[in-house]
């Protein structure tokens, strides 16, 4: 049966070539498309996490629902020690966020002023890499602020601005700051609202020594984040709560899930077309071969063997296409993961969607490639089901007399 299937494949070149090409193109496109889709999602997420969010954060319970200074972590020493004793963390740091009004001579804007340890943040976030002008590690009454915020306040490097807010004990904080550094992460909202200052000076202004709005941590490997977070979670005092990036970035994760869903729906429509084209070609071919099947059945070849023959034909054609498409698709996905495509100006255009880089990488995941291939393989095999049913609906006599 196997050699007969080979002969048929070689004999019916039109059908074989069409099936081969369609399967090849579909599988190749599917692997590359999904790799690009997952790659861009991964990149957006990674960028967002690396820029500022980290892979998990620790808060005083109720801070995220109620907010305000009443729900600060009052003593960061214990949770920081727990993090120091936990393996698998790249870096961690406490942050204290406060909100107030920043004013230049003529413009005012609400801002989020955060006291950070610049040295720790360097290992934890992309804040240093985002530096565009001035210095990163500012001291004293010096601010490291978003470029968009500086633009809104019409400020330049070296200019002075005033800040009015409240300290942790709700007393007034009013201070004049110098713009010592500017950054641009590409996340528009973040860049137009955020300013950072050295934690030591921040603590003298806001009376916030050893306090934090939250402690941010970054796992060495994002894949192991859950395990590391669980370890930390078990040791944390009862009043503290750990949030993983999936919760912190909930809206972004949901956006990606919806985007993936639409991506798969688009590909699904494409596959439906391909499926019917392969099936129709197969059907036309089989319809033309009805006499041949009639003769085979007349000389004693069973219906099951005829079905097996047709199945073998599509199986061999599919496998033949897979032999070329699978390694090529996998290689393309892998290649662009290492050498991402660069589209100049893309980050500027899509910054509000969290795109902070002009690079469009793929995500090469062997398991995803395997599942995608399996799906297409099953679809190809499915395309022969109706033609087999069609052949079996005739008697051998009807088939031999078929015109």
């Amino acid at each position: 049966m196997f050699s007969l299937a080979i002969k048929n494949i070689l004999f019916y070149k039109g059908r074989s070539l069409t099936t081969f090409l369609l399967t090849f193109v579909s599988l190749y496109l599917f692997i590359v498309y999904v790799a690009f889709m997952n790659g861009s999602h991964q990149s957006m997420l990674q960028n967002a996490l690396n820029v500022y969010t980290g892979s998990f954060q620790i808060y005083q319970k109720e801070y995220r629902s109620k907010g305000g200074y009443d729900y600060l972590i009052r003593d960061t020493r214990k949770p920081l020690q727990i993090l120091a004793d936990t393996k698998g963390l790249k870096a961690f740091a406490p942050r204290l966020e406060t909100f107030g009004i920043a004013s230049s001579k003529t413009y005012s804007h609400p801002i989020m002023l955060t006291g950070i340890d610049f040295n720790r943040e360097e290992k934890l976030s992309e804040l240093k890499k985002a530096l565009t002008q001035g210095e990163y590690n500012t001291h004293g009454a010096c601010l490291y602020m978003g470029e968009n915020l500086a633009q809104k306040l019409h400020l330049h490097l070296g200019d002075t601005l005033s800040f009015v807010g409240s300290a942790v004990d709700y007393s007034f904080v009013a201070e004049l700051f110098e713009v010592c550094g500017l950054f641009k992460t590409g996340m528009y909202e973040f860049d137009s609202q955020s300013a950072f200052m050295n934690r030591d000076y921040f603590d003298t202004l806001f009376f916030s020594k050893n306090m934090a709005t939250y402690i941010v941590a970054m796992a060495e490997n994002l894949k192991h984040n859950d395990a590391v977070a669980t370890k930390v979670e078990k040791k944390l005092p009862q009043e503290l709560q750990l949030y993983r990036w999936q919760t912190l970035m909930k809206s972004m994760v949901q956006l990606m899930e919806i985007d993936s869903l639409f991506g798969y729906i688009s590909m699904g429509l494409f596959f439906i077309v391909i499926f019917f084209v392969i099936m129709i070609y197969g059907f036309i071919n089989i319809n033309a071969r009805l006499r041949e099947f009639g003769v085979l059945r007349s000389i004693g070849v069973s219906d099951n063997k005829i079905s097996l023959l047709l199945l073998l034909e599509i199986l061999l054609l599919t496998l033949f296409a897979f032999v070329f498409a699978l390694p090529l698709g996998a290689y393309t996905a892998y290649y662009f993961q290492i050498h991402p495509i660069v589209i100049e100006g893309m980050s500027e255009m899509y910054k509000s969607y969290g795109v902070v880089s002009d690079k469009v990488p793929t995500l090469f995941d062997p398991l995803t490639v395997f599942y995608n291939s399996l799906f297409l393989f099953a679809l190809n095999l499915l395309s022969i089901v109706y033609p087999i049913y069609y052949v079996r609906s005739f008697t051998p006599i009807e088939e031999t007399q078929h015109v």
């Binding site: 004013s103 800040f163 009015v164 942790v168 004990d169 709700y170 007393s171 009013a174 201070e175």
Partner: protein, 241 residues
């Protein structure tokens, strides 16, 4: 029947009128024609205790000027309330900031009093309708409900007034849903000329039992002439030092 209805109507009107009179006298005691106060304020919460000293100059209910005297980091911060508008001056940054009406009920510097309490912009006489709830000896318990056109947020206030001195002993503030929000307890009533003034005020919010703000009146001068310059925007900077 008619006589009975007339009796009920008259007694209600008399009680309402009496309640309004009491409230007017309490308000008069709290304001005078002009009033200068030096106040020591202590704020206690779960996490900190803060002490401040401030002085307040007021003329009626429309004009009020407040200056912080200590701690030194806040020295010279001034507040001016003038005909329903409020400004603040911060000497360190040399800026005058207008406080919008929407922020009048925000807590003032982490205390349990609001911006409105500080400058006494809303008036229990003009903005509320008074109704006598109970009268026992010299103590009158009065219900204050906001008038329809009054820009206040309290659903109601119940105040207990000592009619001997016409000073409030306790005020309980309720929100629109009738839930207790905070209480003012007034103690140590002293006489200043023709006026009586409680010199210890204790404010406690009901949702944070460990929070407490205490105001101790250190000095009070009634009806003394106040330089009109205090009640102009330029005063914010001028009298800051």
């Amino acid at each position: 029947m008619k006589v009975l209805l007339l009796f009920i109507f008259l007694s209600t009107a008399i009680f309402a009128s009496e309640a309004e009179d009491i409230i007017k006298k309490v308000d008069q005691n709290m304001r005078g024609k002009t009033l200068y106060l030096k106040i020591a304020m202590s704020i206690q919460t779960d996490y900190y205790e803060r002490n401040m000293v401030l002085e307040s100059y007021s003329e009626g209910s429309k004009k009020n000027f407040v200056k912080i005297l200590s701690p030194s980091k806040d020295y010279g911060i001034t507040f001016l309330s003038l005909h329903g508008q409020m400004w603040q001056y911060i000497p360190k940054i040399e800026r005058i900031i207008k406080i919008p009406p929407s922020m009048m009920l925000q807590k003032w510097m982490g205390s349990d009093i609001t911006n409105d309490d500080l400058v006494k912009q809303s008036s229990i006489v003009k903005d509320y309708t008074a109704k006598m709830l109970e009268k026992k000896g010299t103590l009158a318990t009065i219900l204050l409900t906001p008038k329809a056109d009054a820009a206040v947020v309290w659903g109601k206030i119940i105040t207990t007034v000592d009619t001997k001195t016409y000073t409030s002993q306790e005020e309980i503030y309720f929100d629109d849903d009738g839930k207790k929000v905070r209480s003012f307890v007034y103690k140590d009533v002293k006489k200043y000329g023709n006026y009586y003034l409680p010199t210890l005020w204790i404010i406690q919010p009901f949702d944070a039992p460990k929070h407490k703000t205490t105001l101790q009146i250190k000095e009070a001068k009634y009806d003394a002439p106040i330089n009109p310059a205090y009640f102009s925007k330029s005063a914010l900077k001028r009298f800051s030092n």
